[in-house]
Symmetry: C2
Subunit: 407 residues, 2 copies
């Protein structure tokens, strides 16, 4: 497809509609060879061949084995070329920056981290730029010239800034601007939880599904809604903020000033508070030891104890699941997703939580919608937030790779 000179990118290789479609079809495994691509996209085999050649030249695709299926000459299996291009993503989490380097298929090749020295957005940004500069030095291939960055708080993805992060007390942190100035490379910013959801949708359990809901549980709770691989941002970038839906108008006071938010029942913070309260009532639990060590109990401790069978911890999880299950039930009824993925530092733990949630959701969701949904634990590991950042870069691999090669 040709473009007007006023807005055109002048490259040796076309970035047309069909080129994107070919890449997507291969990514989603809906087509495997040139001929099946042609059938799937309604293009001639010839054109498909030309497009594929271009993508192979750009090292975005590679030919693999032969496809022996049915009779006739076997096709050549095509897949993303994982040998050349690299994406770098970052995520800020509990005082540190985590970095990942991935190939085009989203496989993590290398990780890194850097603890932020100091407080406030300046130290936060400074450490990010330093960490990225260091991390990109050791990239094992050709770097796609952009960084994807997962950060806490409400993010304006268009302008690349944190509108506000209430936990940290920050407002209007210009992340993209800072990184782009320091590193002379494009920076794409996303809420870290939404990024994790995107990563799960693309590379985790969400592969091949149309509508997924990712629910990230850590100290807080938030969600990501993904329709056909695209994140729903909302009109002011707050779609998915389920932590502050009201479960009970007369419930306990939440930090946000309202009462009975999901946050006060089912977040890691809530689990920890509940456990501490029960312990101070004198109930028996393996968590006592931890308490004696003067380090406060957190949500992860509770989940791990529950996994080990601790009765007090199980009680806390059950209580959290009662409200979380109801919230998920209502989301399933409202939104009718294919899949609900439970992740985040707490949600990823192989604890009884997901079983409780599933049972509760089944009880309250509309049966038709519940029958269509699978509720699963997140498939990806710890670096999923930074991987979410890398997703943003990988989404643009075609244009990024073209820019590099046209130089």
């Amino acid at each position: 497809m040709k473009k007007n000179a006023e807005t055109a990118n002048v490259h040796s290789f076309s970035e047309g509609e069909y080129t994107t479609a070919v890449l997507k079809a291969i990514e989603n495994s809906v087509a495997k060879s040139r001929a099946s691509l042609a059938r799937h996209l309604g293009l001639s085999r010839t054109t498909t061949s030309t497009i594929v050649s271009g993508l192979i030249n750009l090292n975005l695709l590679e030919e693999k084995s032969l496809l022996r299926e049915g009779r006739g000459r076997p096709g050549i299996l095509l897949d993303l070329d994982s040998s050349i291009w690299r994406a770098v993503g970052a995520e800020y989490h509990s005082g540190s920056w985590a970095f990942v380097e991935t190939d085009l298929r989203g496989s993590i090749l290398r990780t890194g981290s850097l603890k932020v020295a100091g407080r406030g957005p300046d130290a936060f940004l400074d450490c990010l730029a330093q960490g990225l500069a260091e991390f990109r030095r050791n990239v094992s291939g050709e770097l796609l010239p952009a960084f994807g960055i997962g950060v806490p708080g409400l993010v304006d993805c268009d302008r690349g800034l944190i509108i506000r992060a209430d936990d940290l007390g920050w407002r209007n942190v210009l992340v993209s601007e800072y990184v782009e100035k320091k590193l002379k490379s494009k920076a794409l910013v996303i809420n870290r939880n939404r990024g994790a959801g995107l990563a799960e949708a693309r590379f985790g359990g969400g592969r091949g599904t149309h509508q997924i809901v990712y629910i990230g549980i850590g100290t807080g709770i938030s969600a990501a809604f993904i329709v056909d691989g695209e994140l729903i941002h909302g009109s002011s970038f707050s779609a998915g903020e389920i932590g502050h839906i009201t479960m009970d108008k007369a419930g306990p006071l939440c930090a946000c000033g309202k009462r009975g938010c999901l946050h006060v029942y089912s977040s890691g913070t809530a689990m920890a508070r509940m456990a501490a309260a029960l312990l101070s009532e004198g109930k028996e639990s393996g968590l006592k030891n931890k308490k004696n060590q003067r380090e406060p109990i957190d949500g992860e401790d509770v989940c791990l104890a529950a996994r080990a069978g601790d009765r007090l911890a199980l009680e806390c999880l059950g209580e959290a699941a009662r409200q979380l299950g109801l919230a998920i039930a209502n989301i399933i009824t409202i939104y009718n997703p294919d899949k609900v993925i439970i992740g985040g530092p707490i949600g990823s733990i192989d604890s009884p939580l997901i079983g409780y949630v599933r049972k509760e959701a089944e009880r309250w969701a509309m049966p038709h919608a519940f029958d269509a949904v699978k509720i699963e634990r997140a498939a990806l590991g710890e670096s999923v937030g930074a991987l979410g950042g890398a997703c943003l870069v990988l989404d643009r691999k075609l244009s990024l790779a073209s820019v590099v090669r046209s130089k």
Copy 2:
């Protein structure tokens, strides 16, 4: 754009990507003249001119006045041509079929209705086919060869059937198949409430917004989620069924078998039940007269009485709004829409309901999301459901018109 012969539509006129884009740009008023279209779509003025000529030839666009803005030669204002093509939509509602004829801009030119004689899906379908056959005879222009049909219940839009309509006790009603056989014309089927939401999004208060939520309140409650003009169907076509989200696990029993559904608090049925209960307690109200007439009070009666200032009716509305407002607050927090449109037979009445809901929603929604949303009453009138059907036809005006003209 050329298509492979295997899947191609052989027409005199191209239905390419850009042609669709030109139509959409004009519909959404993002561009007005050939030159502004060219800039907006990144095309040359020449190509844009060619595409526009084709659309004018097909009577989809027309030239209107000159655009005198700034200096230079004035452009020619383009708009949808409302003089030739007609779309027909239908909706089933309380025992009758309603029909509308619209022009390309969604203006209603003519309405009609037909009462269904008999019960059950056979009479329902028979009457639909009869009514459409009669209604299309008097179309005032050229008919786009498809019918858009809004029906109650859970609808499989791909296959054009009612999966189930619990209120009526029906299952697997093959609407498209029947209509297409009887009328030799394509039939597009949608849930009537979702259709109404689509109509409001396209032609009502939702014009120009990105994410809208339409909430239809009649005897039941359901919603439609529309992102960038496209309806979210969900994985099994039940996205938007908010009538059966659980507001209170210990609430009153709902017809669906669960407790405390939104339906039992805020539907028209619920309002009527509440009013009847208060009356039987001996409370004073203008609704008494109605009751004496041995015709049961319904939700509309309550809303109309409330509008007139009746205290008992106002109490019922306030009670309904308390739960509805909370539900909407949570939807706003979760989904962060630009606009929430309250419609349906009950929601469309200019009663105090919307004021109550707004107040309640403000109280419980996350402030950031609430600040970004407008809560409004539906702008379109009674025939909105059938207009929703017509929307489905108008969405395909390009290909439908091409098919007709290529004959």
